[in-house]
Amino acid sequence: MAILDSMLKGFVGGVHPPENKITEHGGIETAPIPKKVYIPFSQHTGKPACPLVQKDDVVKIGTKIGESEGYISVPVHASISGKVTGLISHPHPVLGCSLCCIIESNGGEEWEQSITENADYETLSKEDLVNAIKEAGIVGLGGAAFPTHVKLSPPSDKPIDTLIVNGCECEPMLTADHQLMLEQAEDIIKGARMFQKILEAQHLIFGIEDNKKDAAKIFRREGLEVRVLKTKYPQGAEKQLIKAILDREVPRGGLPMDVGCVVQNVGTCYAAFQAVAFNKPLIDRVMTVTGDGIKTPKNVLVRIGTPVIDLIQFCGGYTGKPKMIIFGGPMMGIAQYSEAVPVIKGTSGIIISTQAWDTEEGPCVRCAHCVDVCPMGLMPCEIYKFVQNKNFDKAKEYGVLDCIECGCCAYDCTARIPLVHYLKYGKNEVWRLSK
C-alpha cells in the first residue's frame, strides 16, 4: 500500500536522472584553511549586506564584515582570520561579478571572542532565537539561500502546523546532506526541534528519499516521524515536497506558509543549531566536490569564500582537461567561467566535468516530454515559443512565473532546447515589464 500511497500523494511529473552519487559513503573531510578567501556581500536572496570593514582591517573568524540591510537580508561574517586586503568586484557563482571582501589568512585560527558555547540556549525566547539565527547569517543551505529568520517568522494570521525537514537531496551526484545526516544527526534533530519550537508547529516530519534509507533509519531511531519518499527529481523542491508529504498544494504565487508549512533543509537545521548553541556564525558548510574531472571526489567542510581552485587542489586536482565547473547539482547548478569563484553559503556542491554538452538545439517537435515531466504542470514547449516571439503576456498567462527552474523539461527535451534558459529569461522579462 505504501507504493500506492506515494503514487497518490506524490507530485506529478519529475525525472529520474542517473544518480551518480559516487561520494555516497565518503565521510566529511575538512578542507584546509585557504590562504585567501573572497567573501561576497551578496550570498542570499534579498538585499546584499552592507560592508563593515575596510582595506587593511584585521578580522578574526566570525567577525561580522557585512551588516544586514533590511528585513530580507542577513549579515556576512569573516570565515578565516587575517587581514582585509581589499573590497573589490570579483567573480561570483550566481551573479557573475559582485563586491567581495578579500581576506588574506594569517595562518592562525583566531575566533572572535563572542563565539562561545551557549549552554542554556534552550531557555531563550522565540524572538531571541530568531534574532540569533539572523545575526549568525543563516540562510537556507539547500541552494536558494533564502534568509532563514524570515521563514521562521510567519505572519500571525498564518499559523504553522507542520515543519518539514528536507533531507531529500534529490539532485544527482550530491551527497553532502546525506553525509551530514549520517554524521550530525543529533545536531540536526536539535536544530529541527528548535525550529519547531519557534514556529510552534505541532508536527515535525523528516522527508528523505528512499536512496538514503540509512539516514532515515537514524531519525526513526530517535523517534521522529520520517517519510521515505520515492527517489525522483525534484522531490526536494519545497512545493513538491509538501505535496508529497502532506498532499497540500501551495497556491500559485504563494509560499509554504500559506498551507501551514515550513520546509527547512537539514543543513540549515544543523547550521542554525550551531549558531544558537555555540554562537557560531555561518562561516563554513558541507558540500560535495565531485564529477569526472576531479581525482578524488569528496564531501568537504569548506570555509565560505574559499576559491574553487583551492578545493580542487584539496581533492587531488583535475583528472584531465576540465571543461565545466558547476556550482550546485547537475540539474540546477550554475556553470562557472572561472576557477576563481568562491564558495558561498548556498553552494551545495561543485561538479567538475570534462565534457560539455553539445548545446545545439533542434526544432521543437512537440514531443510533450517537457509537459509530462514538469512538476509545476506548466507547458514549457509552449511558453518557450511565446518567449522566443517576445509574447510575454501570453508567457505569463501560461504560468512562466510559476516555473521553479528545476530543469526537468530541458533534461527530457528531445530537441535539446535549453528550455529553462528561455523560461528564466521570460520570467525576468515579465517581471521587468510589470514594474
Binding site: 525525472v15 536522472p17 512545493k239 498532499d247 497540500r248 498544494e249 501551495v250 497556491p251 500559485r252 504563494g254 500559506d258 498551507v259 501551514g260 571543461k323 565545466m324 558547476i326 550546485g328 547537475p330 540539474m331 540546477m332 547548478g333 550554475i334 556553470a335 562557472q336 567561467y337 576557477e339 561538479i351 566535468s353 560539455a356 554538452w357 533542434g362 526544432p363 521543437c364 517537435v365 512537440r366 514531443c367 510533450a368 516530454h369 509537459v371 509530462d372 514538469c374 504542470g377 506548466l378 507547458m379 514547449c381 509552449e382 504560468g399 510559476d402 530543469g407 526537468c408 530541458a410 533534461y411 527530457d412 527535451c413 528531445t414 530537441a415 535549453p418 529553462v420 534558459h421 528564466k424
Partner: protein, 334 residues
C-alpha cells in the same frame, strides 16, 4: 590554467532520448511488421518501401538545400515519413506512386511549412490522402492476397481487404454469410496475426501491437492517445449498429498502425494530457463514423488527419492545470 570554462544553461545532464534516437526507435519498432509484410506479399513490398524512403529522403535534402537550410536528413524523420507512407500503400501499386506520394508529403506537407516540428498534419498521411485523391484506382484496388513466404507475390491475385469486404459485402455474395464469416473466430485470428490482404503495414495487428507497446514502454509514444483511440473505437463498436464485431474492428485495417504510430506523431498531436485523451478519442470516433457511414471502408487515416487540424485548438482549450492552481476538486487544504 587561465582559459575560461564552458558556461551553459542548466541542467547540465540531459536525458538519453533525443529526436534522432526516437526516430530510429520508431523505425525499429516498425521493422517486424515490414518484414512480415515482405514475407506475405513478396519482395515487391521491399521495393516499394525503398522507393518511398528514398524519395522522401531525397526530397527532404533537396528542399532543405533549396531553402538554404541545414540538411538534416540524418535525423531519420524523412526516413520515417517514407516508411509510414509505404505502410499505407497497397502492395501492388505501381512503383512511381510511392515516389510521388513521398515527394508530396515531404515538399508540401512538411518542408513548405517549415520542416520538422512545424508541419501541421502528419506528412505521411498527407501523402496518402494526396495519392488517394489523385489515383483512387491504384489506392483502392491494388491489393494482393497473402502468399506466405513465396517472396514473389507479384502475379498477385487481388483480394479485398476485410474492411472493404464488410463494407461492400453485397459485392461478393450473400452479405449475411460474408459478414458472419468475417466475424468468425478463424478470420479474426487471421486478421490478428496478419494472414490477410491489406496495406503493406496494416496486415499483422500482433506485430504492430508489439512494436507499439515497445514504444510506449520507452516513452516514445504516449499511451493516452493510443488508449483513448482504441477505447473510443471499442465503445462505439459496442454502442453503434455495426456489422463487425469488436475484435474485428480493433484488429482489422490500419487501426493499430494509426493508433500506435500515426496518431501519436509528436508534432501533430496535442501536448497537454487532457488534449491527448481528447485527440485519441476524437480519432476513434471519426474512424468508426467513417467505417460505418462513410464512403471508404477504412477511416483511420482521414480521422487522424482531421484531428491533426484540431490539434492547436485542443491545445489552447486544454491547458495543463498549473501546480497550486485552485480548482473545484482540489482547493487549498489548510
Amino acid at each position: 590554467m587561465n582559459e575560461l570554462f564552458v558556461v551553459s544553461a542548466s541542467p547540465h545532464v540531459r536525458g538519453k532520448m533525443n529526436i534522432d534516437l526516437a526516430m530510429r526507435l520508431v523505425i525499429i519498432a516498425l521493422v517486424p511488421a515490414l518484414s512480415y509484410s515482405v514475407f506475405l506479399f513478396g519482395i515487391r513490398v521491399l521495393i516499394i518501401t525503398a522507393i518511398s524512403i528514398g524519395a522522401s529522403v531525397a526530397c527532404e535534402a533537396l528542399m532543405q538545400k533549396m531553402l538554404g537550410k541545414k540538411i538534416t536528413v540524418t535525423d531519420g524523420s524523412a526516413v520515417l515519413t517514407g516508411l509510414l507512407l509505404a505502410f499505407n500503400l497497397p502492395p501492388a501499386v505501381p512503383l512511381w506512386l510511392p515516389a510521388i506520394g513521398s515527394a508530396f508529403a515531404i515538399i508540401f506537407a512538411k518542408q513548405l511549412f517549415g520542416g520538422l516540428g512545424y508541419n501541421f498534419i502528419n506528412p505521411a498521411l498527407a501523402g496518402r490522402a494526396f495519392l488517394m485523391a489523385s489515383w483512387p484506382l491504384f489506392m483502392t484496388k491494388a491489393w494482393l492476397a497473402p502468399a506466405n513466404g513465396t517472396l514473389s507475390g507479384i502475379d498477385g491475385i487481388t483480394s479485398a481487404t476485410p474492411l472493404s469486404l464488410l463494407k461492400n459485402a453485397a459485392n461478393y455474395g450473400d452479405p449475411s454469410i460474408i459478414v458472419r464469416q468475417l466475424n468468425d473466430f478463424d478470420t479474426i485470428k487471421n486478421i490478428f496475426f496478419g494472414n490477410i490482404g491489406g496495406c503493406i503495414g496494416e496486415t499483422s495487428a500482433l506485430l504492430l501491437l508489439i512494436g507499439g507497446l515497445f514504444l510506449i514502454i520507452i516513452r516514445v509514444v504516449d499511451y493516452r492517445i493510443v488508449v483513448g483511440y482504441l477505447v473510443s473505437v471499442a465503445v462505439l463498436v459496442f454502442v453503434l449498429p455495426t456489422k463487425g464485431t469488436l475484435m474485428f474492428h480493433l484488429f482489422s485495417g490500419g487501426l493499430f498502425l494509426g493508433a500506435f504510430f500515426m496518431a501519436t506523431d509528436w508534432v501533430t498531436s496535442p501536448v497537454t494530457h487532457k488534449g491527448r485523451w481528447i485527440f485519441g478519442a476524437g480519432c476513434g470516433i471519426l474512424t468508426i463514423i467513417i467505417r460505418i457511414w462513410g464512403g471508404y471502408p477504412e477511416g483511420v487515416s482521414y480521422s487522424i488527419l482531421l484531428m491533426n487540424v484540431f490539434t492547436p485548438l485542443i491545445d489552447s482549450l486544454t491547458k495543463e492545470r498549473v501546480f497550486g492552481e485552485l480548482s473545484k476538486k482540489k482547493g487549498v487544504k489548510k
